[in-house]
């Protein structure tokens, strides 16, 4: 790359600064607008789909039902268990669709920015929603001491490893989980978007600034397109993982035994 760069002007690699564009107006930035747009899209989609539900669904209703079913049966019921999952279905569905739409913004032309690559948004969901919810239901189900025991002492562990195990489990359950939950999706979106930027901008640079390097430009664009498909997969996967882990934490907090 340095060799190629030498032929034209200076190639400025995309970096963190590309994620923090100047505000559109006042202190409102692009991701903020996108975030609001995302909840409008999801709300309108579901409300329109459920306005006139029929026992035998039409195409549009079927699509909405598939999404709802996925959140309800594949994630919430699987992870929380058939006994307790009902009250958590809206939460899990909201998490899934919220993360998914905001991720997919990274692929939609003109918008092309995954909102979740700003750590504040996933952190808000994981630290301020999922974390309190699963600990709250856990404390409510098992009592204060009971829940602490339930979360920090894995059943069947021999007594002599407990001094080591309890701090690790506590650290993981009460500090690490919400952070990793947010960082996982944030990092994936951040890195993915950065990769796309690199290949797209490099292609553009090669095309405009190069002499002979023009012939390499399509390779760079081809990579960008291939990565776009990969990104689409990762975006869906990350939304699924976020919802799945949230449900799993709730399920573990509620479980009678592990």
């Amino acid at each position: 790359m340095t060799k190629l760069l030498a032929s034209g002007g200076e190639f400025v690699a995309p970096g963190v600064k590309d994620f923090f564009l100047p505000p559109i107006f006042g202190s409102v930035t692009k991701p903020m607008v996108l975030l609001v747009l995302s909840i409008v899209i999801i709300a309108v989609f579901f409300i329109a789909a459920t306005r006139n539900l029929k026992v035998v669904p039409g195409k549009f209703q079927f699509a909405a039902e598939s999404v709802y079913d996925f959140g309800r049966n594949n994630i919430a019921r699987e992870q929380i268990g058939a006994k307790d999952f009902k009250p958590f279905v809206p939460l899990i569905l909201t998490i899934f669709t919220f993360i998914l739409v905001n991720n997919l913004f990274g692929l939609i032309p003109i918008i092309q920015f995954p909102t979740m690559s700003h750590i504040g948004f996933p952190l808000a969901v994981s630290l301020l929603v999922v974390y309190p919810v699963y600990h709250f239901v856990g404390f409510k189900r098992h009592g204060f001491v009971g829940y602490l025991k339930h979360q920090t002492i894995p059943p069947g562990a021999p007594w002599f490893v407990l001094p080591l195990l309890i701090p690790i489990e506590f650290f993981q359950k009460f500090i690490l989980n919400p952070l990793t939950l947010a960082i996982r999706v944030f990092a994936a979106m951040f890195a993915g978007h950065l990769l796309l930027l690199v290949f797209t901008l490099a292609g553009e640079f090669l095309l405009l600034n190069g002499g002979l390097t023009v012939i390499v430009a399509p390779v760079s664009f081809a990579f960008a397109i291939a990565l776009t498909f990969l990104e689409a997969l990762i975006m869906c996967l990350q939304a699924y993982i976020f919802a799945l882990l949230s449900a799993s934490y709730i399920g573990m907090a509620l479980a009678e035994e592990h």
Binding site: G15, V16, K17, F19, F20, S27, P31, M32, L35, V36, S38, I39, I42, A43, F46, I47, T50, L53, V55, E65, Y68, R72, K86, V89, P90, L91, L93, T94, T97, F98, S117, H118, I119, G120, F121, P122, L123, A124, V125, L128, V129, F190
Partner: protein, 181 residues
């Protein structure tokens, strides 16, 4: 690189969350959660329940119809069996009754015939006795007349004559008696 940027401009570190974004993220998420919890989930759940009820209702209805048909069949079979039993019973009764009637009639007929025979016998006995009495008087007189004519001897003496006739008749009775018995 991070440290460099961090040194130059504080807020550009991507790992440090912006407070405004956290607040906005939370508010937006909770708004969406509210909408979904309030409007979307209940409608879907109601739909699922309706669907389940409809499917289960259909199954239940079919089962009900089947049970009803089964019940009707059993009832019909029962009635048929009852009717058959009833018919057999009636036939048996009729047969028994017929036998009884025949028996009664036979007894009646026998009694009647016995009665008729007895009456006939009685009548015959009476007639015989009458005839015997009549004949006795007649025969006595005729025999005496015949004897007097044959012998020519006047049997004036009444007592002797009666004695002779009686003796004769008694002998005659003794001869006839075994025959009449």
């Amino acid at each position: 690189m991070d440290t460099l940027i961090l040194a130059a401009e504080g807020p550009v570190n991507p790992v440090i969350p912006h407070t405004s974004e956290i607040i906005l993220g939370l508010v937006a998420f909770l708004l969406l959660l509210f909408v979904i919890k309030k409007f979307v989930s209940p409608r879907f759940e109601a739909l699922y329940e309706e669907r389940t009820a409809k499917i289960e209702g259909g199954i239940e209805k079919a089962e009900q119809a089947q049970a009803e048909a089964q019940r009707a069949l059993e009832q019909y079979k029962e009635q048929l069996a009852e009717a058959r039993a009833e018919a057999a019973r009636i036939r048996d009764d009729a047969r028994a009754e017929g036998l009884q009637i025949v028996e009664e009639l036979r007894e009646q007929a026998q009694a009647e015939s016995a009665r008729i025979v007895a009456q006939g016998q009685h009548q015959l006995d009476a007639q015989r006795a009458q005839i015997v009495a009549e004949l006795r008087a007649d025969l006595g007189r005729t025999a005496v007349e015949l004897a007097s004519k044959v012998v020519g001897e006047s049997l004036e003496d009444d007592s002797r004559r009666r004695g002779t006739v009686d003796r004769f008749l008694n002998e005659l009775d003794a001869v006839a008696a075994p025959a009449s018995k």
